[in-house]
C-alpha cells in the first residue's frame, strides 16, 4: 500500500478525538475524508501532515515510517482551507516557493512554475500580486503551489469551501483533471457529500473520531454498513432497525383503491418530492418530473423493495 495508517489515535487532554483509525490509500488514488463538522477529519489531516503529534499508531508512506518525521521533512504537502498564499510574493514566486527546498536551479524552478501556470490556465497572472486575484484564482495558485513540488501525497483541507457553488463545481473538475495529468495521490477533506462523490475514488466516512465506512461513493450509498452511514448519505425511509428504503426506490401509481395518500408535494424542478402516508407510516418519495404530478389527497399504490443494512442490494 502507498499510504498505510495503522491504529492512529489522538487525544486532547483526556478526550479521544481519533479512535484507533486504520486505513490504506493506493497510489494515484483520491481518498475523500467525509463527515459532519467536528468528526475529527481535519485532525486526521493534521496528524498525516505532521502538525499534530499522534498518541498511538503509525503512518507509513511508500514503505517508510513517517510517524515521527517533522512536517517539513515529510514528502507530503497540504493545501489549506484559507489558501495561505504569501501576500508579499507575486504569483510566480508563490508557485516557486516549495522548489527552493529541492535541489533545483532557479531557472528550472521558474520553468516549472510557468508550466504549472499553464496547467492551471493562469498564464497571464505570473507577475500579479496575490491581492489582485479572485478567490477562485487564489485557490488555483494554492493548489498549484502544492502540486508543483510533486509530493508523494497531497492533502487538501476543504479547499473549495470559500468558493461559490459554480466555481466549486468547476474546481472539482479541475482537480480531477490535474490529478490525472500529474498522477498524484491525494487525500481530500470535505463535509460536502456531492463534492465527495464527484472527486473521490473512495470515501472514508467518519463520525466522532471513528471510521464508519470506507468504500466507493456508489457502495456507500447503495450499501451503507450502519445507521449513521445510511442517515448521513442521502435521504432515507427507515422501516425497522435494519430495513430501509431510499425515496427514489419507491414507485407510486395512481389508483383510487391504493393504500397510500399524498399528503404534501414539494416541487424541485427535475424531480418532485412527496410525503405519502402509507400503512400508518410517513414515507418520503422522490419521483422524476415526467409531467405527471400527483395532487395532495390523491390515493396511490405504493411499491418498493426493502433494503437491509450491510447487505448488497
Amino acid at each position: 500500500m502507498f499510504l498505510s495508517v495503522h491504529d492512529l489515535t489522538k487525544k486532547y487532554q483526556n478526550k479521544t478525538v481519533l479512535h484507533s483509525l486504520s486505513f490504506d490509500v493506493q497510489k494515484n488514488e483520491i481518498l475523500v475524508v467525509l463527515g459532519p463538522s467536528g468528526c475529527g477529519k481535519s485532525t486526521l489531516l493534521s496528524c498525516l501532515n505532521g502538525f499534530t503529534k499522534i498518541d498511538q499508531g503509525d503512518i507509513k508512506l511508500d514503505n517508510q515510517d513517517i510517524t515521527e518525521v517533522l512536517p517539513e521533512n515529510r514528502d507530503i504537502t497540504t493545501v489549506f482551507q484559507s489558501y495561505n498564499l504569501f501576500p508579499h510574493m507575486n504569483v510566480l514566486k508563490n508557485l516557486m516557493y516549495g522548489l527552493k527546498f529541492q535541489k533545483i536551479s532557479h531557472a528550472d524552478a521558474r520553468k516549472k512554475a510557468l508550466q504549472m501556470l499553464k496547467l492551471l490556465q493562469m498564464e497571464p497572472y505570473a507577475d500579479s500580486r496575490i491581492q489582485e486575484l479572485s478567490g477562485g484564482q487564489q485557490q488555483r495558485i494554492a493548489l498549484g503551489r502544492g502540486l508543483i513540488v510533486e509530493p508523494k501525497l497531497l492533502l487538501l483541507d476543504e479547499p473549495f469551501s470559500n468558493l461559490d457553488e459554480k466555481l466549486r463545481l468547476k474546481m472539482r473538475q479541475e482537480l480531477r483533471r490535474l490529478q490525472k495529468e500529474l498522477n498524484m495521490t491525494m487525500i481530500f477533506v470535505t463535509h460536502d457529500q456531492q463534492e465527495a462523490f464527484a472527486i473521490g475514488d473512495r470515501i472514508l466516512l467518519m463520525d466522532k473520531g471513528h471510521i464508519q465506512q470506507i468504500s466507493s461513493g456508489k457502495e456507500l450509498y447503495t450499501n451503507p454498513k450502519n445507521t449513521f452511514v445510511l442517515k448521513f448519505i442521502g435521504e432515507t425511509n427507515i422501516l425497522s432497525d435494519d430495513d430501509y428504503v431510499r425515496p427514489e426506490n419507491i414507485h407510486l401509481t395512481k389508483s383510487n383503491d391504493g393504500q397510500g395518500i399524498v399528503e404534501k408535494v414539494f416541487f424541485q424542478g427535475s424531480t418532485i418530492d412527496y410525503r405519502i402516508k402509507y400503512n400508518g407510516q410517513e414515507f418520503q418519495v422522490t419521483c422524476l418530473n415526467n409531467g405527471k404530478i400527483f395532487a395532495v389527497g390523491q390515493r396511490v399504490r405504493v411499491d418498493y423493495k426493502i433494503a437491509q443494512l450491510g447487505e448488497p442490494k
Binding site: 512536517p71 504537502t77 527552493k100 513540488v149
Partner: protein, 549 residues
C-alpha cells in the same frame, strides 16, 4: 423638522464645531506659532544656528543612528525569539516588556547611574571600580534598552497576527525554521520594522532626559534645548533647536503614514492570534536570537531590580537593609503631587478618548473628509518631539487672546491633546468593529443622531473607550517632554519631580517615585480590565437569560 430632531441637529453641529476648533486651537495653532514666530522674531537666524552648532546636530544624529540600529537588532531578535517560545512563556515575557510601558521614560537612566555610576552597585560595590559612566555610550545603551521593549511590543503584536496556517503552509512545502523566518515571518514584519526604526530614530533625537541625566559633558540638541529654557530662559534658542529636530521628524511622519497603512494591510484572512505551534529550535537563527534576547532580558531585570532595591532599602555598612527611609524621604518632594498627577491623568484619559472617539465617529461613520484632516492634524504630537509641542504652547498661549501660561488649565489641556494622536488610532480600531448597519438602523426606526450616540456608538465602543482611556492615563502618568516648560512650581507632576530629584542626585527618592508611578499605572490597568471583564460577564448573563426563561 420635529423638536427632537432639531435639538439633535443643533447638538450634533455644536459637537462637530467644538471638536474641530479644539484641535485647530490646541494642536495646529501651537505648531504654527512656534514655526512662524521663532523664524520671524529677532535673534539668531536658524541657518546661523545650524552653522554654529553643527557638532550638536552631529552628536544627536550619530547617537540616534546607533541607537536606532541597536534597538532594531535587539527588538527583532526578541520578536523572532518569541516564535520559538510556548504560549505561557510568551505571556510572562510580554508582561515583563509591558512594564516598560508604564515606566517613566528616563527610568533606565536612573538605573544606569545606580548600577554603573561612581557609587554604582555593579561598578563600585561589586567590581570596586571608579569609572566615569557619563557620555554617549550610556545614552546609546539606555535608549536602546527602553526603545527595544517598545519596539518589540509593536513587532510581537504583528507576529501574533500572522496566520498560523501561513507558517504551516511554508513548513508543508518543506521550509525549515530558518527559511520560515526569512521567507515568511520577516517579510510580514517588514512594514512594522520600518515604522519602529523610524520611531526609534525620532525618539532618540527628541529624548532630552537621557542625555541630561547621563550625557555628562556630551552635548546634544535635545538636552541643549532643555537647558536653553530651564537654565537660560532662552526660548528662542530652544525653538530653533526644536525646529531642527522637527525636520527629520516631519520626514519620518510622512513615511510613517505610508508604512503604518502597510502594517494594516499585511493581514488578511482570519488571524487566530496565536502562532500555529512554536517553531522548532533548529537552525542558525534560534541561538542568535536566544543570546540577544537573554542579554536584553537580563538588562531589563537588572534595571527594574536596581530600581526596586533602591526604593525599599538603605545601605548599611556595605549591606542593603529593608527600610522605609527612601519612602519617607520622598514625602517632602511629593506632597499633593500624587493626587494631582492622578487627577490630571484621569481627565486626560477621559477627555482625550472622548475627543478621539468623536473625531473617528465623524471621520469614519459620517464620512467627513474635513474630520479626517483634523484626525491627521491630531497625530502631529505622536511623531513630533514632546518639547516641541510644549514650546509651541509657550509661544501660542503666553499672550492674548489666549494668555493661559502659568495656569493649571494649560497643563491639563496639553496632556489631553497630546493623547489625541494615539487615542484616535485606538478609537479607529474600536469603531471599525461596529458595522455601519447599526447606525442606519437607528435612523430607520426614527432615531436621531443623539440616539445613534447613546444607543449604538458609545455602548458598542465601550471597551475601546476603556482601553483608550487607560492608554491616555498611563501616557500622562509617564509624560514629561510636552509639559516640562508649562508646569509652574506648586503644580508639579510626578515625572517632573522624579526628573528633578534625579538631577539632584537623590536616586533613592527617584526610585521610590518610579515605583509609585508603575504601581499606580498597574492598579489603574487592573481596575480597567476588571471593569471590562465584569461588563463582558454581564453581557453573557443577558444573552443567556432568554434561554433560562
Amino acid at each position: 423638522m420635529s423638536k427632537k430632531h432639531l435639538g439633535s441637529f443643533i447638538i450634533d453641529k455644536f459637537v462637530y464645531l467644538i471638536i474641530t476648533l479644539s484641535i485647530l486651537i490646541f494642536i495646529l495653532y501651537p505648531y504654527l506659532s512656534i514655526f512662524v514666530q521663532s523664524l520671524s522674531e529677532t535673534g539668531q537666524k536658524i541657518t546661523d544656528f545650524w552653522s554654529e552648532n553643527f557638532v550638536l546636530t552631529q552628536h544627536s544624529v550619530v547617537v540616534a543612528l546607533i541607537t536606532m540600529v541597536l534597538s532594531l537588532i535587539f527588538s527583532v531578535a526578541v520578536t523572532i525569539n518569541f516564535a520559538f517560545l510556548s504560549k505561557q512563556k510568551q505571556k510572562i515575557l510580554r508582561l515583563f516588556l509591558l512594564v516598560t510601558m508604564v515606566s517613566p521614560p528616563f527610568v533606565t537612566s536612573l538605573a544606569y547611574i545606580t548600577l554603573f555610576g561612581r557609587r554604582g552597585m555593579i561598578t563600585h560595590d561589586l567590581l570596586q571600580l571608579t569609572i566615569n559612566p557619563y557620555g554617549p555610550q550610556g545614552i546609546i545603551l539606555m535608549q536602546t534598552l527602553s526603545f527595544t521593549s517598545l519596539n518589540a511590543l509593536v513587532l510581537i503584536g504583528l507576529l501574533k497576527k500572522i496566520e498560523p496556517s501561513m507558517i504551516n503552509s511554508a513548513r508543508s512545502l518543506g521550509a525549515k525554521t530558518d527559511a520560515i523566518i526569512k521567507d515568511v515571518i520577516f517579510p510580514l514584519l517588514r512594514p512594522g520594522i520600518v515604522v519602529v526604526t523610524l520611531i526609534s530614530f525620532i525618539r532618540s533625537l527628541a529624548d532630552f532626559q537621557t542625555s541630561t541625566i547621563i550625557g555628562g559633558s556630551f552635548k546634544m540638541l535635545a538636552s541643549e534645548g532643555y537647558f536653553a529654557v530651564i537654565s537660560f530662559g532662552d526660548i528662542h534658542r530652544a525653538a530653533l533647536i526644536n525646529l531642527t529636530l522637527a525636520i527629520p521628524a516631519l520626514i519620518g511622519f510622512f513615511l510613517y503614514i505610508k508604512y503604518d497603512r502597510d502594517i494594516s494591510s499585511v493581514h488578511h484572512g482570519t488571524a487566530s492570534g496565536e502562532l500555529g505551534i512554536p517553531l522548532s529550535k533548529k537552525g542558525f537563527i534560534f541561538p542568535i536570537t536566544a543570546v540577544l534576547s537573554l542579554l536584553f532580558y537580563l538588562a531589563l531585570l537588572l534595571q527594574y531590580g536596581s530600581i526596586i532595591i533602591n526604593a525599599i532599602t538603605v545601605k548599611n555598612m556595605g549591606h542593603f537593609q529593608l527600610s522605609w527611609q527612601p519612602l519617607i524621604a520622598s514625602k517632602i518632594y511629593l506632597n499633593d503631587t500624587i493626587f494631582r498627577t492622578i487627577i490630571y491623568s484621569i481627565i486626560a484619559g477621559l477627555l482625550g478618548s472622548l475627543i478621539s472617539l468623536f473625531i473617528i465617529y465623524y471621520g469614519q461613520v459620517r464620512n467627513s473628509k474635513w474630520m479626517r484632516l483634523i484626525e491627521m492634524i491630531g497625530t502631529f504630537p505622536y511623531i513630533l518631539p514632546g518639547t516641541f509641542f510644549g514650546l509651541g504652547y509657550l509661544y501660542a498661549f503666553s499672550k492674548p487672546p489666549l494668555a493661559i501660561t502659568g495656569t493649571t488649565a494649560i497643563v491639563v489641556i496639553n496632556v489631553i491633546f497630546k493623547q489625541v494622536a494615539f487615542a484616535t488610532k485606538a478609537a479607529k480600531a474600536s469603531v471599525n468593529q461596529v458595522h455601519p448597519i447599526y447606525f442606519q438602523t437607528v435612523h430607520d426606526l426614527g432615531g436621531t443622531v443623539l440616539n445613534e450616540w447613546n444607543d449604538v456608538f458609545f455602548p458598542m465602543t465601550k471597551q475601546g473607550f476603556a482601553l483608550t482611556f487607560l492608554n491616555g492615563f498611563i501616557s500622562t502618568m509617564t509624560t514629561i517632554g510636552s509639559i516640562i516648560f508649562l508646569v509652574h512650581p506648586g503644580q508639579n507632576l510626578m515625572t517632573l519631580v522624579m526628573f528633578d530629584v534625579v538631577q539632584r542626585g537623590e536616586y533613592q527618592v527617584a526610585a521610590v517615585i518610579a515605583c509609585m508611578i508603575i504601581l499606580i499605572c498597574v492598579i489603574m490597568a487592573g481596575i480597567v480590565f476588571l471593569l471590562i471583564h465584569l461588563s463582558e460577564r454581564s453581557k453573557k448573563h443577558v444573552s443567556l437569560s432568554p434561554r433560562l426563561n
